[in-house]
Subunit: 203 residues, 2 copies
């Protein structure tokens, strides 16, 4: 795991409270509040009890998406792959999160499994400071995902995009250039360009 | 909307910071931090800009799941249906959330649409107080969802379920009875029952 991914994985762990999203057996999105119980160079760890739809959804899809609100209006989002971890990880989770013993006392903990989120990609986003900024990260072999927009060589340098940009994050030039890290990804430039020079980077 | 649903819809709005989960075009779960911008008897309102995958996912699936962490370790989760609301709702969102003008100044707001979450069902969950408790709610014609477990007439009254229950939320009787509102839904009773008398209420 590179230093950037480590920084954000550690941030997930320090915020601790996250939302975990999964897809259920009928294809509906599902989400609930969870704790990021551990984070290290191998990824992040969650727990779920065997009786829960959340458990079944993680086992059946092998995927979980996480989002978290960090201090100062900075947020994290993430999509990763997960699998059940060895039992020793569950014990380690309880060691590092002793409050869990109040909810699952003694041996009742073994109705839980630890899930290892062993790879994935995400983004950190800061909406509080000006200019707004974002940073992509990934680990475990996942590709970082760059959503948003790109201005291509078809740009006629008319300035329509810059005029309409809520964040003024476009630099004039040949072609004009979106500062990806300061972009809301709202799509205003895409709508405004008379030359069709703005390309969507995501589906 | 009944008083119970109103209470939880208002709680989503007062917490304001929520995670919104959707399913993308490839069936992956996606989640990000959003604000619940408005809530009234007609439901909840979110915003999204036209350039975002989140926007496209809400339009294409007509669904969004929300979760939020409330004060004192109480959490909310929700699955609802959504559609784009009339433009006047976007203006109302900006009136009630004036900070949005810093991100989308002047007419740039119209790259956003307001989404009306017009029906859905969810659950409030309190993990801080003992006994833990949960309450289901729904509005707009959606059925409240009762996940968890039920002890059927096949119960042989052996007490294995009560012994293994981390929350001791099972009452002895004929049959034994799970106090649904105090249940973790962990599935320990389901695993422990030698008579197969514990039925799962969800898929």
């Amino acid at each position: 795991m590179d230093a950037k991914a480590k920084k954000y994985v550690d941030l997930f762990r320090s915020v601790k409270i996250a939302s975990a999203a999964t897809v259920d057996e009928k294809g509906h999105p599902r989400t609930r509040i969870v704790n990021v119980m551990l984070a290290d160079d191998s990824g992040m760890y969650l727990v779920a009890s065997k009786g829960k739809p959340f458990y079944k959804q993680m086992v059946e899809t092998g995927e979980v998406a996480l989002s978290a609100m960090c201090p100062e209006c900075q947020s994290l989002k993430f999509l990763g792959k997960c699998r059940i971890a060895d039992k020793e990880w569950l014990d380690r989770v309880f060691e590092e999160n002793p409050g869990l013993n109040e909810v699952y006392p003694g041996k009742t903990r073994y109705i839980l499994d630890a899930f290892h989120v062993y790879e994935g990609q995400g983004e950190w986003f800061d909406l509080l400071h000006h200019p707004i900024s974002r940073e992509a990260f990934s680990y475990g072999g996942a590709e970082p995902e760059h959503s948003g927009f790109l201005i291509t060589e078809e740009c006629i340098e008319c300035g329509s995009c810059l005029e309409t940009c809520p964040q003024q994050c476009i630099e004039a030039g040949s072609p004009y250039r979106i500062e990806w890290q300061h972009c809301l990804q709202c799509g205003a430039c895409f709508d405004a360009c008379p030359a069709g020079a703005v390309r969507r980077l995501h589906p």
